[in-house]
């Protein structure tokens, strides 16, 4: 196993772990915010525009770091390990 293939294998695994972590974390975080928003609207329906604003505000702020993680994960995949160019070297017909 050459060191280059080791780097590519590690990058693929790292990409998968980062994506799983991002999806899990932001899913739980957004779920908590959205559930509280739905509860608040159910208690007081006339406050709906206000709560809608705060819902998107909360989601936007807390999605900042997950999106940064996605950006770094794609950077690892595309620039460090150059996975698509490797895939194009696999002969067609598989």
């Amino acid at each position: 196993m050459t060191s280059e293939s080791l780097v590519v294998a590690a990058t693929l695994i790292a990409f998968g772990i980062i994506m799983a972590g991002v999806a899990f974390g932001s899913g739980i975080g957004d779920g908590i915010v959205a559930s509280k928003a739905v509860e608040a609207i159910a208690r007081q329906p006339e406050a709906r525009p206000n709560i809608f604003t705060f819902l998107f505000l909360g989601v936007g702020i807390l999605e900042a770091f997950p999106i940064i993680s996605i950006g770094i994960a794609f950077y690892l995949l595309l620039v460090v390990a150059k996975v698509p160019t490797l895939l194009s070297h696999i002969p067609a017909g598989h």
Binding site: F56, L57, V59, G60, I61, E63, A64, I67, I68, I70, G71, F74, L78, V79, K82, P84, T85
Partner: protein, 243 residues
């Protein structure tokens, strides 16, 4: 594919060095379009009849003005034009990436906020504006707020102050850039005509960019709104009066 992502056409200017020409040209184009569009709306104010475009524009401006005065109070009135301009311009810059100028080979196109230079300069502009306004209002005693409530919190408070423009810039940049990146990846799957056995993956994936662009439009609006709102909140924290 790496050549398409994150690569910008460059100009080599004598004093400024290497600049991203497609970002600059696209920003100029959006500026011209925005000026013409708002001049067109403003021209309808000559006649005394209220038109639909006036109503839409005034709804947007009232929304932001209410947000500003709601957070900042009475003295927020003089900042309202700045935040209106910030919101509308960042919104237009974010949405401009939907139009496929770059794929057609033109030297502009793509969202300027997908370039870190744009977002960092806007975040720095907001940061400097907040510091200058706070110093003009409170004098140099403004920096005493870094030692509230305890003096040994000085490094933590300073770090928090300095990290704010960094997160503003990074949030806006990464949201828009990852949206464009996802679009490019799905588009490259579509053009590569991938067949998984008898199943034509490219054809099935051709529907995805449509929904991705909807999502990008949504994210662009939210991020523009969020940038403006966070700038307002940071300003209100800086010029807050002691109780």
């Amino acid at each position: 594919m790496h050549e398409q992502i994150g690569e910008h056409l460059v100009w080599n200017l004598p004093v400024l060095g290497t600049v991203h020409s497609d970002t600059i040209v696209t920003t100029w184009l959006v500026m011209i379009i925005a000026l013409l569009f708002f001049a067109w709306i403003g021209a309808s104010y000559r006649s005394p009849r209220v038109t639909k475009r006036q109503a839409v524009l005034e709804a947007v401006i009232n929304y932001i003005a209410d947000m500003v005065t709601g957070v900042l109070g009475e003295e927020g009135e003089r900042f309202v034009p700045f935040f209106i301009a910030l919101f509308i311009f960042i919104f237009l810059l974010n949405q401009f990436g939907v139009l496929p100028f770059k794929a057609l080979g033109l030297p502009f196109g793509g969202s300027p906020t997908a370039d870190l230079n744009t977002t960092v300069s806007y975040a720095l502009m907001v940061f400097v504006m907040i510091q200058v306004v706070a110093i003009r209002k409170k004098g140099l005693k403004y920096f005493a707020h870094l030692t509230k409530p305890f003096a040994w919190l000085l490094p933590i408070n300073t770090l928090e102050e300095l990290v704010r423009p960094v997160t503003l810039a990074a949030r806006l940049f990464f949201n828009i850039f990852v949206g464009e990146l996802l679009f490019i990846i799905i588009a490259s799957i579509v053009t590569a005509k991938v067949m998984v056995g008898p199943f034509n993956l490219s054809l099935a994936a051709a529907v995805a960019p449509f929904f991705i662009q909807f999502f990008n439009f949504f994210v662009g609006t939210i991020q523009a709104f969020l940038f403006t709102l966070l700038a307002i909140v940071y300003l209100s924290l800086a010029i807050a009066e002691e109780h």
